[in-house]
Assembly symmetry: C2
Homo-oligomer: 220 residues x 2
DNA sequence: CAGGTTCAGTGATAGCCTCTAACTAAATCT
DNA sequence: AGATTTAGTTAGAGGCTATCACTGAACCTG
């Protein structure tokens, strides 16, 4: 099947080891501090050797970004577990983010202005959206049957190309976007340390946001 | 008053010009691409000259971060305009962020693991929180009078050291945190380009989030 | 206004980094 | 066994941050 020659095996193995060291480096000092040279030294190689395996720093980072997307998609797919349980998905997302904040930032962090993500990462991104969108549609199933959608939901239904034919109702599109932005809002501020010293439990805020997404509590 | 010698005047002027070039560079290529050397060349100076004005790259970036915080605090103070109108504040925040995304990321973007913000930036951060928290308290004034706070609000009231004695009610603390995280959630994903190609109008999503904060719309 | 002091800016240098080029040596294929 | 591919090397160009010793001009003081 795979028809893997020994050379290809070795190549894949070394590429994996390079990524292992890179992940370690990023986790402790951030993506901007990643150094091919330092990785080479750690592996007992001399600098330029790594260019046999990755065309440059950018390509290595791109590979790590792809892996991060892949890991998140798989984690959510497991978290969904067929049931498409929104709180379970949200919880899986949070655990994934807390397990390696820098990996989360690799996916959802500050972008480099010049950089354009390759096609396949956007494909995985679509996969992630699909999982969440399906869960949103399921969470709304049976509710608000056939009513006229709210203005924003209608607007979203008019621009749903990104769902790639997903038959989710307009309200599900809205729910998905609020789910995404709200969870990201709590997670990114928490991981960035902006809650540091504030004393409260970010997990409870996160849970409250999840609960509110499913059953908004009237405040006024 | 200021007792400014010509030398001090010149120093301040050059420091300002360095920051001007730095801002320009960051706006077009991100903070990680900031180069003291390049700034020096642009100013017709030779590399090491800049070290007379900033002890190093970190100190320059820190100055830019402080300026960004200051700018945001001032913008919100004007946006509040005494009235403490939450939608107006949210709108001012969005305009500020859109005007210079990289400046927004300087404040709320991916943190560098090693870096610790100096004391005065956290002071400005507290100032920003105060403006928003006051607006939240005002928005809730007269509503839900004297009822028992929800579990999360009670938890927040138990950990309110960060409010520095602000007498906002527990519900206002909760409203502030959701305001902060939700607006940041939409803004950061939008500015990071994660909505690119999705076609919908992020401004409408943002407005809907603001509206929902003030009058949650029941979905179930 | 003369003399000493302070300070902006310089070139040289060390030590990182990315990435290219030419070469060696080993593994693989025919 | 010989030809080819390829992993890894050293050398080096060009960028960066940052330090150091030095020059020359601006400034303050007597």
């Amino acid at each position: 099947m795979a028809e893997e020659t020994p050379r290809e095996r070795y190549r894949a193995q070394v590429r994996e080891e390079i990524k292992r060291h890179a992940r370690e480096q990023i986790a402790t000092a951030g993506a901007s501090a990643l150094s091919l040279n330092a990785i080479a030294k750690q592996m007992g190689l001399s600098g330029p050797a790594l260019y046999r395996y990755y065309a440059g720093r950018d390509e290595l980072i791109t590979a790590l970004v792809r892996d991060a997307y892949r890991s998140l998609a798989d984690t959510l797919a497991v978290g969904a577990g067929g049931g498409a349980d929104l709180p379970a998905l949200a919880h899986a997302l949070r655990l994934w983010a807390l397990a390696d904040p820098q990996r989360y930032f690799l996916v959802y962090g500050t972008p480099v202005p010049g950089y354009h993500a390759p096609e396949d990462t956007t494909a995985i991104s679509a996969e992630i959206m699909t999982i969440l969108l399906d869960a949103c549609a399921a969470a709304l199933a049976g509710q608000a049957p056939g009513q006229e959608p709210a203005p924003l939901a209608a607007h979203l239904a008019d621009h749903r190309d990104w769902t790639f034919g997903n038959p989710a109702p307009p309200e599900a599109l809205h729910l998905f976007l609020t789910l995404w932005t709200r969870l990201h809002g709590v997670l990114s501020l928490e991981l960035a340390g902006h809650f540091a010293g504030m004393g409260f439990d970010a997990a409870r805020l996160y849970e409250a946001e999840v609960a509110d997404l499913l059953a908004p509590s009237p405040r006024g």
